[in-house]
């Protein structure tokens, strides 16, 4: 065991390998407030990567309704129960991570899902906590609530799957932090399935090896965002790269949203893997549930998000979501528009803060026609 720094926990923690951060870390921001659980991301991913035999139960990407939705069944409830109640003091996590809570003969605390747990990928869709009575209405934090949680591999800084693999078949790319399984080394022991706290590694009974989200690395390598990000019709996703802690740049949209404005938070940071999908928490959900899911920063993140309409910089960063297939390495908030730049610092997208309004002439002389708003 080594001691490694985990900024999400505000402390060092134990990990089976030396800490080795990539030059830049693939990272995503998902805005839960905009997701409608249409599952377009799930279908885009499935048709791209996992439509073969042996992959029937495999969804690298899924969207689940919280709190009654799970894929596989009950995954986070099971692990939280095993981990016991954890405690945050300020920004520091005082409980145990999945590495620290492991049994003496294990590297990671985990569990192996039953095959039947992969049935009903949309279990719990739209189910609310609480009941709706006649005359019910919503305001602020809702008494009856649910929200949609879109999930992919977190390409963790300290991957539990990697830590658990007895054959070192899982590796993290130094150039971008994408976590991959070397299928020629894998022997299908499924220690990674057991260890991954997010249950985003899958076993393929036809190939008899394990597989997982590859971060659409062929797209990443040519400067484009992954399929699940590009196809999102709600424009809830932005993929980019996080700089190593200490070298954040305010003009890198990922650094800005995650490390500087802290408007997006990791999912279950207490597991200790330093996951790299960051969520803007849903504003209407009770804070205790959100703190359990996203850590102690939810109040601060919600306040920052609420300030976006009057905060040009933050609004600019949020408006760049879903408006270009290119990966943005830099952004700038101008008076009327937010501008995004690619790796070569070329302008690739420009988004106005407010939708422009045009009124055409009533009579279009050139085309000899009157223009109306009703056909």
């Amino acid at each position: 065991m080594s001691k490694v720094g985990n900024w999400q926990l505000g402390r060092e923690m134990e990990f089976p390998y030396e800490g080795a951060r990539p030059a830049r870390q693939i990272a995503y921001v998902f805005d839960t407030n905009k997701c409608i659980a249409c599952q377009t991301c799930s279908i885009a991913c499935k048709t791209t990567w996992t439509s073969g035999k042996g992959q029937e139960h495999v969804f690298y990407n899924n969207v689940e309704s919280k709190p009654y939705g799970f894929f596989p069944h009950g995954w986070d409830v099971h692990l939280l129960e095993k981990l016991g109640t954890g405690r945050w003091s300020g920004g520091t996590y005082e409980g145990k991570t999945v590495f620290e809570a492991a049994a003496p003969n294990e590297r990671v605390l985990g569990y192996a899902p039953d095959e039947a747990d992969y049935a009903s990928p949309n279990l719990g869709e739209d189910v609310i906590a609480g009941t709706i009575e006649r005359g019910a209405f919503f305001q602020g934090i809702h008494r009856a609530w649910m929200f949609y949680l879109a999930r992919i591999c977190n390409h963790c800084t300290y991957p539990a799957c990697l830590a658990a693999c007895p054959r070192k078949a899982i590796y993290k790319r130094p150039e971008d932090g994408i976590v991959l399984i070397d299928q020629s080394r894998c022997r299908g022991y499924r220690e990674c399935l057991k260890a991954c706290p997010y249950k985003k590694v899958f076993y393929n009974a036809i190939t008899r090896v394990s597989e997982k989200c590859i971060g659409c690395y062929p797209l990443i390598e040519r400067g484009e965002q992954p399929q699940c990000v590009q196809t999102c019709i709600g424009k809830i996703r932005l993929q980019g790269f996080l700089s190593p802690p200490g070298s954040e740049r305010a003009d890198n949209p990922l650094d800005y949203l995650v490390r500087i404005r802290k408007v997006a938070l990791p999912l279950y940071p207490q597991f200790g893997t330093e996951p790299n999908v960051y969520y803007v928490p849903p504003l209407h959900v009770p804070r205790d549930f959100l703190a359990q899911a996203f850590g102690p920063g939810v109040e601060e993140a919600a306040a920052a998000y609420r300030s976006a309409p009057t905060d040009r910089e933050l609004l600019g960063a949020l408006l760049l979501f879903g408006n270009t297939p290119r990966i943005l390495h830099r952004f700038r908030a101008e008076a009327e528009e937010a501008i995004g730049y690619d790796a070569e610092d070329r302008e690739v997208v420009r988004v106005p803060y407010t939708e422009p309004f045009f009124a055409r002439e009533f009579f279009d002389r050139k085309n000899d026609v009157y223009r109306h708003n009703v056909t």
Partner: protein
């Protein structure tokens, strides 16, 4: 008929159409790019190109889309031996010319044969106030490069009423002003001179279709007596045109006539559209269908499941418990036996077996008690799909002859619906805009003033059929795991309360 999910498959009162209307229809021809329920009942099906396979340019527009939707011609080979739907029409027209010697049939479709449908499209665009000035071939070139073509509405964003509000132009009414009082005789007779609330024609716990109002000088309809009808007659045919005014205090004390006959009829049943499918979505593709709610399973562990997923009725957990049902059980859902699932079902047990709705029940706390929901857009059972399920060793509800895949064991959400007519949508005197021009007219007009809709809800009774566990043994697995509403394990309760972590106050 063409390109719909599907004109017959999703007709309100679907099984009335299937078992009582279609037998009297001489011939049914369907254009479709996917084998829907409409194809199941067709004499001839023309397989036509999907959007991805168009060999003829096409464009369309909708009121809610600021852009012209352009479908450029594809360079890809067709996957199957299909034709464009415009070619099937042109082919029929050519045959009619041959049979009759009248060249006009073929001439109507002249440019289809020449591969120049852009001529027709350009004529349509030129005749539209919102599209005149758009060159359709230029729009196609832009579309190929991912560049949209914006419609030429008066304003962008299009804001209906902008000209009336900001430029004092007349509204599309007889006086040119916003009219909130209708004085046409049909509206006076119906008691609908003012905007009034009518109870739903079926989906109410109370007297159906009654106008809920206190006595008012502008609400004086012709009642049943004026038409020589007994005021106590409340059957489905009569009550759709029944004009009775009662204050809420009285309505609240009434009961739906069906509930009076049998108190088990006490659930409002809604069938709204679903996020995972729309009119032209082939909802029987497995990786899409598996997301349709909580009963998806690509491994089909329970062989009763008609496909890799199935339809379900959502019921408040307290109502479900009263019915003796657990989450995931199978139930029968029945609407008014007088006319559903089709008139005369009592004498036709084989057809009734296909048409009666059997589905999973799901605990759903998101609607008030008494209100239930089943999503629209799932393929209903047909004689072929039921035969498939009963003879296929895998239990798939798939027609062995056609491959049609139902998402129900028997029946569909349309087992419980039917069409009703609204007299004030069918008058000859209402002044309204014509469909495609700025000209005013009166009376019937497609999509503007005509019987254009039907209620998608009804009043039903729910009866437990089978337990939800695999093969009908025990409860559905997520219930056993304590993961569904009303069946929460202690761990799930703790999870929902958020008490697996504590956050010490005062830190930063």
């Amino acid at each position: 008929m063409s390109n719909s999910n599907s004109l017959i498959g999703n007709a309100k009162g679907h099984y009335e159409t299937v078992f009582n209307t279609l037998p009297r229809v001489e011939m049914l021809v369907v254009n479709d790019w996917w084998w829907t329920a409409s194809c199941e009942y067709a004499d001839v099906v023309f397989p036509v190109d999907s959007w991805a396979e168009f060999k003829h340019l096409d464009v369309t527009a909708s009121v809610t889309n600021p852009f012209l939707s352009v479908f450029p011609r594809t360079p890809l080979e067709r996957i199957h031996d299909t034709r464009s739907d415009i070619e099937t029409s042109a082919g029929v027209a050519a045959a009619l010319s041959e049979l009759t010697g009248d060249e006009r049939f073929a001439r109507m479709w002249h440019f289809v044969g020449e591969g120049r449908v852009d001529v027709y499209l350009q004529r349509i665009l030129n005749a539209s106030s919102m599209a005149r000035g758009i060159d359709v071939l230029a729009a196609e070139e832009r579309a190929k490069n991912g560049v949209p073509t914006i419609l030429l509405s008066r304003t962008y964003p299009k804001s209906v009423g902008w000209e009336q509000a900001y430029e004092s132009r007349p509204w599309y009414t007889r006086t040119g002003r916003l009219e909130l009082y209708r004085d046409e005789p049909e509206f006076r007779a119906a008691g609908e001179c003012l905007p009034v609330h009518r109870e739903p024609v079926d989906a109410t716990f109370h007297e159906p279709n009654v106008i809920v109002a206190k006595p008012h000088p502008a609400i004086r309809p012709k009642g049943p007596a004026d038409y020589g009808v007994d005021a106590g007659v409340l059957d489905g045919e009569t009550r759709q045109a029944r004009n009775v005014v009662r204050p809420w205090a009285e309505v609240e004390a009434t009961k739906h006539p069906l509930t009076t006959r049998d108190p088990a009829y006490r659930y409002v049943f809604h069938t709204p559209k679903y996020r995972h499918g729309a009119h032209t979505t082939p909802v029987d593709t497995d990786i899409v269908a598996v997301w349709f709610g909580p009963f998806g399973d690509l491994m089909r562990r329970d062989r009763r499941t008609p496909f890799v997923t199935e339809s379900y009725i959502e019921v408040h957990p307290d109502d479900a418990r009263e019915l003796g049902c657990q989450d995931g059980d199978y139930v029968w859902v029945d609407a008014d036996p007088e006319d559903r699932p089709f008139h005369g079902w009592q004498q036709r047990p084989e057809d009734y077996h296909i048409a009666r709705l059997l589905c999973r029940l799901r605990f759903y706390p998101g609607t008030p008690r008494g209100v239930t929901r089943m999503w629209h857009n799932m393929y209903g059972a047909t004689p072929g799909s039921v035969r498939g399920q009963e003879t296929d060793s895998r239990g798939l509800a798939r027609n062995p002859e056609t491959g049609y895949q139902a998402l129900f064991r028997t029946g569909s959400h349309q087992s419980c619906t039917r069409g009703y007519l609204r007299p004030t949508q069918m008058t000859d005197s209402l002044v309204r805009k014509n469909l495609h021009t700025q000209v005013l007219g009166a009376g019937f007009e497609v999509d503007v003033h005509g019987p254009t809709g039907a209620p998608r809800e009804s009043l039903v009774k729910i009866t437990r059929a089978e337990p939800g566990g695999i093969g009908g043994k025990g409860a559905w697995r997520p219930v056993e795991l304590g993961l569904t509403p009303g069946n929460e394990s202690p761990a799930l309760k703790q999870f929902i309360a958020g008490s697996f972590v504590q956050v010490a106050k005062g830190g930063s």
